[in-house]
């Protein structure tokens, strides 16, 4: 019976994220599972790595950190796992599926505004009648948003909560609400906000711990995976990370 589970998972996963990893299996490729929020930056980093190691190939699958972790747990084969949700993937470590891991970059929360939305300052988000999209509390961006709301003036936090019209299971969906004009504001990662050019961005009034990305080399991984992880965390990749909106620790 356990052999059936990946199929069940795969089905839910595909429907849920609508992200399809496909292509033929390549034995020599480094298999990377990456959080979907890395979709815009990781290809550039991998290209850059490929210049240093001629002939290396990659097989990258993007998805929610949690979904990918579940897949690995259920036997999906991967060498490197880049994820956005340290608390929630602890299970992999406890199940001895991870051989090494290191922190990579952080991603902070911002508020994006619909063009023409009647919002000037952060406090305006509490004005009645606005429509605000946030991530579901279960997903990292939603958890971060909840931490932010908890750190705000309770009255403002309550007013903002009253304006929430959707708790999206995916940060890109939340972003699209504003992009499509359906919502007036959305709490999203700075990196996601950077993918849409003409949106106004509000910075946060209080500091909350940003979202930490972690890279993990998985058990029985291709030896090249550790080298690749070093490169991803190293100085060559840092400017690529920063240009995409990520903060790289130890640099300004």
């Amino acid at each position: 019976m356990p052999t059936l589970r990946p199929r069940v998972v795969g089905f839910i996963f595909l429907v849920a994220t609508a992200i399809l990893g496909s292509g033929c299996r390549d034995d020599t490729a480094i298999r990377v599972f990456a959080a979907s929020s890395l979709q815009d930056v990781l290809p550039a980093i991998l290209d850059s790595y490929a210049e240093t190691d001629d002939g290396v190939t990659f097989e990258v699958q993007y998805g929610g950190s949690q979904a990918l972790a579940t897949q690995i747990e259920l036997g999906a084969e991967a060498d490197l796992f880049l994820y956005a949700n340290p608390q929630q993937v602890e299970r992999l470590t406890t199940q001895d599926l991870v051989s090494a891991q290191r922190p990579l970059v952080t991603n902070s929360l911002v508020v994006v505004l619909r063009s023409g939305a009647p919002i000037e300052t952060f406090a305006d988000l509490g004005r009645p009648g606005l429509r605000i999209a946030i991530g579901a509390p279960e997903v990292p961006v939603g958890a971060l948003t909840q931490r932010l709301l908890a750190a705000l003036d309770p009255a403002l936090a309550a007013a903002i909560r009253a304006n929430v019209v959707t708790e999206d299971p995916n940060v890109r969906v939340a972003l699209s609400r504003v992009d499509l004009g359906e919502a007036d504001a959305a709490f999203v990662y700075r990196t996601d906000a950077a993918t849409v050019s003409d949106l106004a961005i509000l910075d946060l009034p209080v500091a909350v711990a940003p979202n930490q990305y972690v890279g993990a080399v998985l058990r029985d991984a291709d030896p090249d995976a550790a080298v690749l992880l070093d490169f991803i965390a190293g100085p060559v990749a840092a400017p690529i990370w920063r240009s995409a909106g990520f903060a790289v620790p130890g640099t300004p």
Partner: protein
């Protein structure tokens, strides 16, 4: 048995049946061993989502039947090219990925959609409301009903109605007493499909209606959220099993309805 030889032909259908049965058994088994169905049954989020799902799917079905039956009848009765074209167009939502259907709905009913301004002026806001959930389900699921009803009406010999008219029965009385009973199995089958599809609708609902517990978070969206939570797969599967359980009971009831005791043949 020996005289007829061995019935080897039954093997493929049995395997095919298992192909459907085993994943469902696997799901249930996984929910029992790894999940916590009891905890999810005690969760108000689950009940909110379940109630919302049953409510919206049923309302969707009612709308599909009330609006779709005359449409299917009209299309089946007309031999004009536009009728066949419309019947084909109605199949399109079956092909569209639901997420695309959600976007399609936004282009019309969204705040910036073609009807956005007139709707806003009329004081109607659709997106992020329960009504939007119903509209999304209707767009995705109603074609299943209309398709089945269209096939049913098309298959019926129109001379039954002709005879009824000559017997003095009005059009409405003929439809009620002759046409409807004759196509009833097709309509009921389509209704079950429509309701089931509405119950499982995810993509279009997420895009068009959003996901807010109690208002727009239906069971599939709750499952998706649970999947992302610490409970992960186990939580998602536990809720899924509850949904499947309820759906099973209601489908059995609907099937009863579709083959009433008064059935002929």
């Amino acid at each position: 048995m020996t005289a007829r030889g061995r019935n080897w032909w039954v093997i493929p259908p049995v395997l095919f049946g298992l192909f459907f049965l085993l994943p469902l058994v696997g799901l249930a088994w996984f929910a029992i061993t790894d999940g916590d169905v009891a905890a999810e049954l005690g969760s108000s989020t689950t009940w909110d989502a379940l109630r919302l799902s049953l409510l919206t799917a049923t309302f969707t079905l009612v709308l599909a039947v009330v609006l779709g039956t005359p449409l299917a009848y009209l299309l089946a009765a007309s031999e004009a090219g536009w009728a066949r074209l419309t019947a084909t167009l109605l199949d399109l939502p079956l092909v569209l990925p639901p997420v695309v259907s959600g976007i399609a709905l936004l282009t019309v009913f969204g705040r910036r959609g073609y009807l956005g301004d007139p709707l806003a002026e009329a004081g109607v806001t659709l997106s992020f409301t329960t009504a939007a959930v119903v509209l999304a389900q209707l767009f995705v699921a109603a074609p299943y009903y209309v398709r089945a009803a269209y096939a049913g009406f098309s298959a019926m010999d129109p001379r039954f109605e002709g005879v009824a008219y000559t017997l003095g029965l009005s059009r409405w009385r003929t439809f009620r007493s002759v046409t409807l009973p004759l196509v009833w199995p097709a309509l009921a089958g389509g209704a079950v499909l429509c309701w089931a599809r509405a119950l499982g609708e995810l993509g279009a609902t997420l895009l068009f209606a959003g996901s807010l517990p109690g208002r727009t978070q239906t069971m599939p969206l709750a499952i998706l959220s649970a999947f992302e939570s610490n409970a992960g797969l186990a939580g998602a599967v536990s809720i899924a099993v509850i949904l499947v359980g309820f759906a099973l009971v209601l489908m059995v009831l609907l099937h009863r309805l579709s083959t009433p005791g008064g059935a002929y043949r």
